[in-house]
């Protein structure tokens, strides 16, 4: 009797074996299909995000390009002026020349200067100048010092004392910045006054190119001796 019951069971198992195997296969297939498709979906999402960010950068570039074209803005002139104001490399002679220019234009006599060598910032050079002049020439200096030396000059701390007779001590900072083109992506021109601001700056600093071209036109092509010790 026991054998008979066992036969029933074995028949039942045989009849359903195909279902059991199908279930095992299906569970495996669903599991692997899900895992592989999650991976693919994730990959696609990353691709889409990357493409979107590339498109944003390219759209930004193209928008900037069309804005610059529409504005009739002389970009080469602006670059030249900015390169004068903030040169790619520091040049001590141009600092001396800037101080001389500044002194000539404002009337404030610069009698000495001291360079702060403890400053480790490669883009900034700080110096303290001692100058002579009255309050009016000092105010004149304050009105002009940012650009009049043909270099960008700032002062982060200034004081004026009416009881001070003639001597002024002023901290000045000169800047340089190597422009690594292409490393930092161009930013969007979202400021509506962007071109207005730049044109105002160009109007203020246009004299730099004018004066520089005048200086360049000084004839230095006079005949020189190849050998300075020769008689001819």
């Amino acid at each position: 009797m026991k054998n008979k019951i066992f036969v029933y069971y074995s028949v039942l198992i045989k009849e359903n074996l195909i279902y059991i195997l199908t279930n095992i296969v299906l569970i495996g297939v669903i599991f692997f299909l899900s895992i592989s498709s999650f991976k693919k979906i994730d990959e696609n999402k990353k691709n889409i995000e990357q493409l979107k960010s590339e498109i944003n950068t390219l759209t930004l570039k193209n928008n900037n390009l069309s804005l610059f074209r529409k504005s009739n803005f002389d970009i080469e002139k602006a670059i030249k002026i900015l390169n004068h104001l903030v040169p790619n490399q520091e040049d001590y002679f141009s600092i001396l020349y800037a101080l001389e220019n500044l002194s000539k234009k404002t009337g404030l006599q610069i009698i000495s200067y001291a360079i702060d060598l403890s400053n480790k910032d490669p883009n900034r050079l700080r110096l303290t100048i001692a100058a002579n002049g009255d309050t009016n020439t000092f105010l004149n200096f304050l009105n002009e010092y940012n650009f009049a030396g043909k270099r960008l000059i700032t002062s982060d701390n200034l004081s004026l004392n009416a009881e001070q007779q003639s001597g002024f001590k002023i901290d000045l900072t000169f800047y340089n910045q190597k422009n690594e083109n292409g490393i930092s992506p161009a930013s969007a021109i979202d400021d509506k006054n962007f071109f207005k601001k730049i044109n105002e700056l160009l109007a203020k600093t246009e004299f730099i190119l004018k004066e520089s071209s005048e200086e360049a036109s000084i004839i230095i092509d006079y005949p020189r001796k190849v050998n300075p010790f020769s008689l001819q």
Binding site: Y9, N16, I30, N157, N179
Partner: protein, 187 residues
């Protein structure tokens, strides 16, 4: 007593239980087949959508690249200019902008009665300021206190405090410390 009967009912129960399990297994098979097709269809549908989106974005990118490549020289100049101008603006912000704030103070003091004499003025790039005003008499100095509480004068500063005052027979002096409000287009 010898047990000679077989409990057929018990075996039938077991058999039915077993059969029921197999019934559920068969049911599970159909469910899994349905689930498999559902997953298969939805994955293909999602992938198709992603492919469409990627194709669309790639063609957009290609068009923009084509547009940008036509003006590659201009683009390099614009990038150069923008980077340089950005550095220039940052550097210029380090300036204390003495003159606009000095003029602001001098002009607002002109409306004071009696008008004090500005003895010294100091400002840094954060617009923190310190200035000393001088008065010929003590009475003039006390009158001036009504002026500095005036809204028109106070709106020129984010904060301002009387830091020190001194008086002697010839003159009285007030020292103020504070911070100017930011001026737009200072220079």
């Amino acid at each position: 007593m010898n047990k000679k009967r077989i409990n057929l009912l018990q075996s039938r129960y077991d058999y039915q239980k077993f059969a029921k399990i197999f019934y559920y297994i068969r049911l599970l098979t159909f469910f899994l087949i349905f689930l498999f097709f559902l997953i298969f269809v939805s994955i293909n549908f999602t992938m198709l959508n992603y492919k469409k989106e990627i194709d669309n974005l790639s063609s957009q990118k290609a068009a923009l690249l084509q547009q940008a490549n036509n003006f590659i020289d201009d683009e390099a100049k614009i990038n150069y200019f923008q980077n340089k101008y950005q550095s220039f603006s940052q550097f210029l912000n380090e300036d204390a902008k003495f003159l606009p704030y000095y003029s602001l103070l001098v002009n607002s003091l002109k409306s004071a009665t009696p008008e004090p004499e500005l003895i010294s003025f100091k400002i840094d790039k954060e617009r923190n300021t310190e200035f000393v005003l001088s008065f010929s008499t003590f009475e003039q100095m006390t009158k001036f206190f009504t002026f500095i509480e005036n809204e028109a004068f106070l709106t020129k500063f984010e904060n301002i405090v009387l830091n020190n005052f001194s008086t002697n027979q010839s003159k009285s002096q007030l020292t103020f410390k504070g911070k100017f409000v930011s001026l737009k287009n200072e220079k």
